[in-house]
């Protein structure tokens, strides 16, 4: 076969291949990325006014690139080389391949979608942002979740407009095809800011968790240290954007105001969480009089409200280090995610280090996700 021909992976999971295998773990995957074949897929879901607008002015996010990436990825569209559909289109756009290569192959019982790209999130024209988000939600439903019951859509909202976001949650949140409200970590202001509270209020009302996925175009460098040069810095930096989100949600009092809210940090790894919780507790101890609205220590809010998807799996040289971290976070707070079809994909049966017991593995891969994503 030609050199660059994609081909399916040889999958031999520990539990055997194919649905015939007995005692198969019913995996819940917290991060699957559906894609459009091209922007035309959105056209049926946009009014003429917004399609024409899109065709005339395109999308404008706070990074200046009309297309392409300021930090070009390490593979085309950051995708696995073996995930390009034979019938054309991008990885993630073929439900058939997603079923064959991923859902069936790994025995995924439920997969939570997280649409990225031109979904309207982070678009500066707020009305266009809202229209695109609605289109993305309708498209997910028609293309993925209606034909494939194992998939649950990520309810994308025009998050820079809290009120419009709440409206979108009201429009879609009653539909059980949606498994989470989907936001990106790099927002214009820290996500605990009050402008975003209508989103949390609506999500709590519909018993939907909020998934905070890395990426987004805030217009700000990933930390106050300025803009790095390389993709490796951008990529490693996603964990810092997750820390910004968790810090802000906790300190600004979101969990105090929305005590039933659950949030899921997606694709930023998780090893950073204990050190952050230690840090916040320490600072809080010293200066709690600045934030009297907090009734408990930051680590307690984190423990009760924040879930972490495991991808990309942390791989220190000494696996005991990651086992420490996992036990500090809590085996009930970690959720498996594959990130299919992206290049830093995790395999539910190979991603975890030796030392994770069968029971712990079952909780991470099959159990914990059920209650978080409204699957019960």
């Amino acid at each position: 076969m030609p050199l660059d021909d994609p081909m399916g992976p040889a999958i031999t999971t520990d539990n055997g291949k194919g649905s015939a295998a007995p005692n198969r773990l019913a995996v819940i995957d917290g991060d699957i990325h559906p894609a459009v074949r091209s922007m035309a897929d959105f056209k049926p879901y946009l009014s003429k006014r917004w399609w024409d607008h899109y065709e005339t002015y395109g999308m404008r996010r706070k990074h200046g690139s009309a297309n392409g990436e300021p930090y070009p990825k390490s593979a085309p569209l950051a995708c696995r080389r073996d995930a390009w559909p034979e019938e054309g289109g991008r990885p993630g756009s073929s439900l058939r391949l997603m079923q064959e290569q991923h859902l069936d192959a790994y025995g995924i019982e439920a997969g939570i979608l997280g649409p990225l790209g031109n979904t309207g999130q982070g678009e500066m024209n707020l009305e266009l942002s809202a229209a695109m988000c609605s289109a993305t939600n309708d498209w997910q439903r028609d293309t993925f979740t209606r034909p494939e019951k194992r998939l649950k859509a990520g309810l994308v909202v025009p998050y820079e407009d809290g009120v419009a976001s709440a409206k979108e949650i009201e429009r879609c949140g009653g539909d059980t095809d949606f498994g989470q409200v989907f936001l990106l970590t790099r927002s214009a202001e820290p996500l605990g800011n009050r402008r975003y509270w209508p989103i949390y209020e609506a999500a709590e009302r519909y018993n939907l968790p909020i998934g905070f996925h890395v990426f987004g175009t805030s217009g700000h460098p990933v930390s106050g240290a300025g803009w790095p040069s390389y993709y490796i810095e951008e990529g490693a930096g996603h964990s810092t954007s997750c820390q910004t989100v968790v810090t802000s949600l906790v300190i600004e009092g979101v969990f105090e105001h929305f005590p039933k809210l659950k949030v899921v940090m997606i694709e930023g790894g998780f090893a950073w969480a204990p050190a952050l919780a230690f840090r916040l507790d320490k600072i809080f101890e010293r200066m709690r009089n600045e934030v009297p609205h907090l009734k408990r220590r930051p680590s307690e809010y984190i423990r009760d409200h924040v879930y972490f998807t495991t991808q990309p799996m942390e791989e220190p040289d000494d696996r005991r280090h990651v086992l420490d971290i996992m036990s500090w976070i809590g085996w009930d707070k970690l959720l498996f995610a594959s990130d299919y079809p992206h290049w830093d994909f995790d395999d539910p049966f190979r991603a975890f280090p030796a030392g994770v017991t069968t029971e712990q593995h079952r909780r991470i891969c099959a159990e914990n996700g059920k209650s978080v994503f409204r699957l019960n």
Binding site: S74, T185, R186, S187, P190, L191, G192, N193, S218, H220, P221, S223, G224, A225, G226, P228, S229, Y230, Y231, I232, E233, G235, A236, G237, S239, T240, S241, Q243, T244, T247, S248, I251, E252, G269, A271, W272, P274, A275, L276, F278, R279, L280, K282, I283, F284, R286, M287, E290, V291, E314, E315, P316, D317, D318, R320, H321, V322, I325, W343, D344
Partner: protein, 361 residues
């Protein structure tokens, strides 16, 4: 004096510039007149609000009833609280006067000169045990190099100082002339928590609370460390030591796992990084131990220490007068005697070539 700390090298203590007049005395006629003509009263940043608990331990605060100034405003009082009381061999002074806020690069250079000369006259000259960092006008690398050249002959300066949040990540080639000069003179590079506030303090803009600002400092250290590695600063300047000061420490293991895993897949874009980032860190990067973000559990501290996979990375620091600890609990719990000695003495000596010799005890 407690025997426990004898000979320790305190790698982070902060002298406080009491007022603009203290600096004016070290300015030329143009700049000292400018201060008056333009009504410049101070460059203090919001990084450490004077009355915020973290800014100063209660016993080091000013006490008007007893006619006592804040402990960090006087070299003698600070020496009594640190070196006399505990028997430290040295305290390294990192002046946080906020020259980084200034947008005018020439004014920034003038203030840096004044700060460095003030530290020299009011602190270094007052007690031979003090050492200090050269504060740099990184607004313009050429001016920063000039300042290094001006101060470097004074061997009591052992480090150059930058803040964690500036205009650009500090590994960028823009800054290489500065690091080259530092390497040439055997000066370590110290990056201290703090911001020029030229960018928002988080990747999602400005947070509402001071507490969030302080928490965000450790995130800027992630960026700085990634920048020094990815840009190849340690390949270019193999003798450099980078010291991360007041970073919180325990974030670094997890960040390095991530950076090193990424490197395996994307090293093509930075091929000069010919071994795992973790190895560069072990050879070149050090962290001061206050604060150490961990609960007061010896077991947890031990596991976190193990993540560093090295006993050479930590440097003792009091972070005087910031309120990081009470009593004399200057180290996290559960550190054994061997590691303790390394942190207190051996590691600082290995990090700062300019401390060598004078300290042979």
């Amino acid at each position: 004096m407690s025997a426990d700390w004898k000979g320790a090298i305190d790698c982070d203590a902060h002298p406080h510039v009491p007022n603009i007049d203290a600096l004016k005395r070290h300015m030329n006629d143009y700049w000292s007149e400018t201060v008056d003509v333009r009504g410049i009263t101070a460059f203090d940043s919001v990084a450490y609000p004077p009355n915020a608990p973290i800014t100063m331990r209660p016993d080091w605060r000013a006490d008007k009833s007893r006619g006592r100034a804040r402990a960090d405003s006087d070299a003698g009082r600070a020496a009594a609280a640190l070196m006399d009381r505990h028997g430290f061999a040295h305290s390294i002074l990192n002046c946080l006067y906020a020259v980084q806020l200034i947008r005018d690069e020439h004014m920034a250079a003038a203030f840096c000169r004044a700060v460095n000369d003030w530290v020299s006259a009011e602190w270094l000259d007052r007690d031979p045990r003090y050492r200090a960092s050269i504060v740099l006008p990184l607004q313009n690398p050429e001016l920063a190099v000039e300042e290094i050249e001006r101060c470097a002959s004074d061997k009591r300066f052992v480090q150059v100082l930058a803040l964690a949040m500036g205009e650009h990540p500090l590994g960028k080639s823009h800054f290489w002339p500065v690091w080259k000069a530092a390497e040439k003179h055997g000066l370590a590079i110290g990056i201290h928590a703090g911001s020029s506030y030229h960018h928002a303090t988080t990747g999602s803009g400005w947070p509402s609370y001071y507490l969030e600002d302080y928490a965000a400092q450790s995130l800027a250290f992630h960026t700085q460390l990634g920048s020094f590695i990815a840009e190849g600063v340690f390949v270019k300047f193999p003798k450099l030591k980078l010291v991360l000061i007041e970073s919180g420490v325990t974030w670094i293991g997890p960040y390095l796992w991530r950076l090193s895993k990424f490197w395996r897949g994307v090293r093509l874009e930075v091929p000069w990084i010919d071994r795992s980032p973790i190895e560069f860190v072990r050879d070149h990067v050090r962290l001061t131990i206050q604060p150490f973000d961990a609960p007061a559990s010896g077991e947890t501290v031990g596991r976190l220490m193990d993540q560093l996979q090295s006993d050479q990375m930590l440097l003792f620091a009091s972070d005087f007068p910031h309120w990081q600890f009470d009593n004399d609990d200057m180290l996290p719990v559960g550190i054994d005697a061997t590691l303790r000695k390394k942190i207190l003495i051996d590691n600082p000596l290995a990090t700062y070539p300019r401390l060598g010799g004078s300290h042979a005890a």
